[in-house]
């Protein structure tokens, strides 16, 4: 009976021998890759959370239309109707001068006493417009604000998304920088794995020679080094993920302790399971790429 050739055990044995015989090289390599992967994971963690939080803020788009103090009642009614008819506006709230003062007083809390000295109410009446985030881009909000500013009876239009626009621009820059950063780290990782394998190949050239002499095929000789690359990449990315998770938990606790009233700490999230799998695959892929690069230094007899 012809049996199916069994290569798994000898290949795993050769791989384990390679790793066991060069613990220092492997340890250094795994550590350097882990640091590179950790930097990468911290970048993704910061970017993901920042863009999610900014997106959440963006969904709460408000435009405040401050009105002239002497605006007539019918003009106010016209303005309200005008605003309601705008596609971007979801809801509208009129805040009278008195209401504005009352709101301000509430925010001052213990310091409200100083308001008693004011000769008259300095706050203007306003219309608070809540916009539909789905239909209004930041550019739309700016356009809308300019349009409202031209209306009779409008003193000033304020929208918080102006600084959000800057934040988005900043995030976009961070994103492109991140791609370069990730590409650089990936390249570095590939070279580290390749160099480790090359060192391993050099120190094991006698064994490779013997393997060829006893009739090992080229893939049989090369496979343990591929497995070594996979091992290094996967273990390093697991290590990096573990460290990133520990760092993430510590940072979240620290942030919560610093600003307990601010819910941002609770809204921070670690990677999704899908991202974790992708990240591990990236580590494995980098290990394979390192092997492929080192295989240019060939496994021939």
């Amino acid at each position: 009976m012809i049996r199916k050739p069994s290569y798994i055990y000898p290949l795993l044995k050769l791989t384990a021998n390679n790793i066991r015989r060069h613990p220092v090289i492997n340890l250094i390599s795994i550590s350097i890759i882990a640091v590179a992967m950790l930097l990468l994971s911290l970048y993704f963690l910061a970017y993901n959370n920042a863009s999610r939080i900014v997106s959440a803020w963006r969904s709460d788009l408000r435009v405040i239309v401050y009105l002239d103090d002497d605006i007539a009642a019918d003009r106010l009614a016209e303005l309200k109707n005008y605003c309601r008819d705008l596609d971007e506006v979801v809801s509208l709230e009129y805040v009278s001068r008195e209401q504005a003062l009352e709101n301000f007083r509430k925010t001052l809390d213990e310091d409200e006493d100083f308001l008693k000295d004011l000769p008259e109410n300095p706050l203007p009446a306003s219309l608070e417009l809540v916009l539909d985030a789905e239909v209004s881009s930041l550019g739309d909000v700016e356009h809308l604000a300019r349009q409202l500013e031209r209306q009779v009876g409008v003193a000033e239009v304020v929208y918080g998304s102006r600084w959000l626009r800057h934040l988005f621009s900043l995030l976009r820059v961070v994103k492109y920088f991140g791609f370069l950063f990730a590409a650089f780290l990936s390249l570095m990782t590939v070279f580290i794995v390749a160099s480790t394998i090359r060192l391993s190949l050099f120190s094991r050239r006698e064994i490779i020679r013997v393997l060829h002499l006893v009739g090992a095929s080229r893939w049989f000789v090369a496979m343990p080094y591929l497995l070594e690359g996979i091992f290094q990449g996967t273990l390093a990315s697991l290590l990096a993920l573990g460290l990133a998770y520990g760092g993430f938990l510590s940072f979240r606790d620290w942030l919560h302790a610093q600003v307990p009233q601010w819910p941002i700490a609770a809204s921070l999230k670690f990677f999704s399971p899908v991202f974790i799998v992708v990240f591990l695959c990236l580590g494995t892929g980098l290990g394979i790429a390192g092997f492929l690069l080192s295989s240019r230094w060939n496994f021939r007899d």
Binding site: Y7, Y9, N17, V210, V214, G215, D301
Partner: protein
């Protein structure tokens, strides 16, 4: 088993190491490749298992044109031959068992049968008691036995040996030669490189005598 036609080889042209070498080794034969140092014996030996490529000419081993064989065919060819070296070429960090088993493992031999097969071949060469030792813990003769066991473990049709007794004393060399004789008697073709005339006299076989890269007509040891 082996056919060599008009083989030429140089490392530094036009200084030819082998010049128009032709010979044939029949299946089941035991032949020596002999000659003085620098005659081209080891070069010819390495050409036989495609460790070197000839400049011109043809080498056919076991039906495979070694001089034009692809890497895959060379690996397949080497699995059907056993190669023994003067310096043994054992892996020092592997046990005797692992060194011998390696030749089976590269062929995908079932793991369950490796132990039994290795034990059997180690017993044949009389080294089974050292199965768990490492090569540096063995004497030269014992290491050569392990190397022979590794060459035999795949039941090859052909054994190539380069000065297998070169590092061994007289008595141990005779023991090793007895092992090669036994292997040959079981039907395996043996080609042995040696410059040791006393060995040729004690174990008389057909000799291909090389001198300055040229093969003399094959002779019997008495004529060397």
């Amino acid at each position: 088993m082996i056919r060599v036609f008009h083989l030429n080889k140089s490392y530094n042209y036009p200084d030819m190491v082998l010049k128009d070498v032709s010979f044939e080794v029949k299946r089941g034969e035991f032949v020596y490749l002999s000659g003085p140092s620098g005659a081209g014996k080891t070069t010819l030996f390495r050409l036989l298992f495609a460790d070197l490529s000839p400049d011109s000419g043809q080498i056919v081993v076991n039906g495979i044109d070694v001089s034009r064989a692809r890497v895959k065919s060379i690996a397949r060819l080497r699995r059907r031959m056993g190669i023994v070296f003067q310096d043994y070429k054992l892996i020092p960090s592997y046990t005797v068992f692992d060194n011998v088993a390696l030749a089976l493992e590269v062929t995908g031999y079932p793991r369950s049968r490796i132990q039994k097969t290795v034990w059997k071949v180690l017993k044949t060469v009389g080294i089974e008691r050292q199965i768990n030792r490492f090569p540096p813990q063995l004497s030269g003769g014992e290491q050569q036995r392990v190397a022979i066991a590794r060459a035999l473990v795949n039941s090859p049709d052909l054994i190539l040996a380069d000065e297998p007794t070169g590092n061994l004393d007289y008595e141990i060399a005779d023991e090793i030669m007895q092992i090669f004789n036994t292997i040959n008697e079981r039907g395996t073709t043996v080609v042995m490189v040696t410059h040791n005339r006393s060995l040729l006299q004690r174990f008389k076989k057909k000799v291909f005598y090389l001198d300055r890269g040229q093969l003399q007509a094959y002779v019997w040891p008495d004529a060397c």
